[in-house]
């Protein structure tokens, strides 16, 4: 368990340094996008249409912020992670085709994402679910909000953050998945209890 401070863009080398159980704080730019923004990004890529933000070496945050307009400008009030598994069908492709380097969310992801992480050198980190005010305070600026036609929670938010965390690395590029280990132990224990 090592603690790191990382600045975006994140190189493959930096991503490969991270191991499950490591604690990370990220500074720089993160892109908040949920399932529908993922779906659209991949559709646009397929059609050769431009995507309004750079995904290569970026930190992608599974989040639909709660924001308030103050004096004509949006201010983020709460920005905790959303359940990452809803995005499982899209993430491997976002890593492979668009070069996403760090995925931040909650609840963990599945085998296809984990496989892409090993192959292309990316990591999945957990932000504590529900700790949304803590997350919002690390957001220093809303750089841009794109694809607003999806509805604000599902839009693409470009956020400038400082020491965004604590993030826990739960899937690394070495084929390890912290949550799978926890689940395996839980199921084993349950079987033992039932047989007792």
């Amino acid at each position: 368990m090592t603690a790191y401070k990382i600045t975006t863009p994140i190189s493959e080398r930096d991503a490969r340094k991270l191991r499950i159980g490591d604690i990370v704080y990220v500074s720089g730019t993160i892109v908040a996008m949920r399932d529908r923004a993922h779906q659209r990004a991949l559709e646009y890529h397929k059609q050769g249409k431009p995507i309004p933000v750079k995904i290569k070496d970026a930190a992608i945050y599974h989040c639909g912020p709660l924001a308030k307009k103050k004096g004509g400008k949006w201010e983020v009030l709460a920005a905790g992670p959303t359940t990452s598994m809803r995005i499982e069908a899209f993430e491997a492709e976002l890593i492979e085709k668009l070069g996403a380097r760090m995925i931040i969310g909650k609840g963990g992801m599945g085998a296809s994402t984990a496989k892409a992480m090993v192959k292309y050198g990316a990591v999945y980190c957990d932000f504590p679910g529900g700790a949304a005010v803590l997350a919002a305070l690390a957001v220093k600026k809303i750089v841009d909000i794109k694809w607003r036609d999806l509805g604000l929670p599902d839009a693409l938010w470009v956020l400038e953050v400082e020491d965004f965390g604590p993030l826990t690395v739960t899937i690394d590029s070495h084929g390890k998945n912290l949550r799978d280990q926890v689940m395996e132990r839980a199921l084993k224990k349950q079987t033992e209890n039932l047989n007792a």
Binding site: P65, T83, L134, A186
Partner: protein, 311 residues
């Protein structure tokens, strides 16, 4: 340590306003504000206790972030979580209170106002087109569960329910001969397989009996009871403790990253059922277990039954 009954603070909300419907609307907005910015005392205390008892390193980091977040949200009067949920009301309407159709309209207006004034995130979409209505209302939403009671008051509870936990809900229709062991295994299995997705440490609502829909409705209603209040019947209270122990023995832990605290409580509600059925519903609530209750009297007086929690 454990406070049994919430302190009753009797104070009129805009007592100069004699328009009862407006009072209901204003009270509903305040209930939503209270619910999404401050956790009920029983939940807060359970999370503090969980932090003290947690021995996993990552589990402690997660619980510390949760406790910090609760404090920050209170200080800044900001919603605890960006997912301010789907708004569900429980309305106990006194037989002499009246106004039921107008109450529905007042609650819908209250949700639209709360969306702007608190604010709440726009969470409600058409299920097919997925188009967001932008104001947290839509066909059937906010959902209102009505109960008729004797009296001249309206007791209103708001339960903003986040989707991360709601998506882990489960229903089982057991054969009656499968009995209690099947129920226990189903509840524990459901919580274990949900892993970190419902934002543990969770509260587990269990509904037993009735019919398919009734058992699920009971499992959600079970989430309204403070977790420091065991079920009124001893045998059920014992089952709640037994299930909680089995769930926490799994080691799923805070956010599913390992640890002793997978759930803070198990609340069971039950009703009788058909001799050929055994329905069991499970509704999981995230640690951010938001709820708030007030009683509105016919003369316009409002009692906030959920304490405006102190830090």
């Amino acid at each position: 340590m454990i406070k049994s009954n919430p302190i009753k603070i009797i104070h009129p909300v805009r007592c100069d306003n004699l328009d009862l419907i407006k009072t209901i609307e204003n009270t509903a907005v305040e209930l939503m504000r209270l619910a999404v910015t401050r956790l009920p005392q029983d939940v807060k205390e359970a999370l503090q206790r969980a932090y003290r008892r947690e021995d996993s390193k990552i589990g402690r980091i997660v619980l510390k972030a949760i406790l910090d977040n609760i404090e920050l949200a209170e200080k800044r009067k900001s919603p605890l979580c960006q997912d301010t949920g789907l708004i569900i009301f429980y309305a106990k309407a006194g037989s002499n209170f009246g106004l039921s159709n107008d109450i529905s309209k007042a609650l819908t207006n209250a949700v639209k106002r709360a969306t702007v004034e608190i604010p709440l995130r726009s969470n409600i979409v058409d299920p097919i087109s997925r188009k967001n209505t932008g104001d947290n209302t839509g066909i059937g939403i906010p959902h209102i569960n009505w109960e008729c009671v004797a009296g001249d008051f309206l007791e209103l509870t708001v339960l903003p329910k986040g989707a991360g936990s709601e998506n882990m809900s489960a229903l089982a229709m057991f054969k009656p001969t499968e009995g209690l062991n099947a129920i226990k295994k189903f509840v524990v299995d459901t919580v274990i397989h949900a892993g970190g997705k419902p934002c543990p440490p969770t509260i587990v609502g269990v509904g037993i009996g009735g019919s398919a829909d009734i058992s699920l409705a009971l499992s959600k209603k079970a989430l309204l009871r403070p977790i420091n209040q065991p079920h009124r019947e001893k045998k059920i209270a014992k089952l709640e403790q037994e299930l909680l122990k089995a769930i926490n023995a799994s080691g799923i832990g805070p956010m599913g990253l390992g640890g002793r605290n997978t759930s803070l409580g198990v609340n069971i509600e039950y009703e009788y059922c058909h001799l050929a059925s055994l329905p069991v519903g499970v509704d999981i609530q995230c640690w951010c277990a938001r709820r708030a209750t007030a009683r509105i009297h016919k003369d316009g007086l409002v009692e906030m039954l959920t304490k405006k929690g102190d830090a």
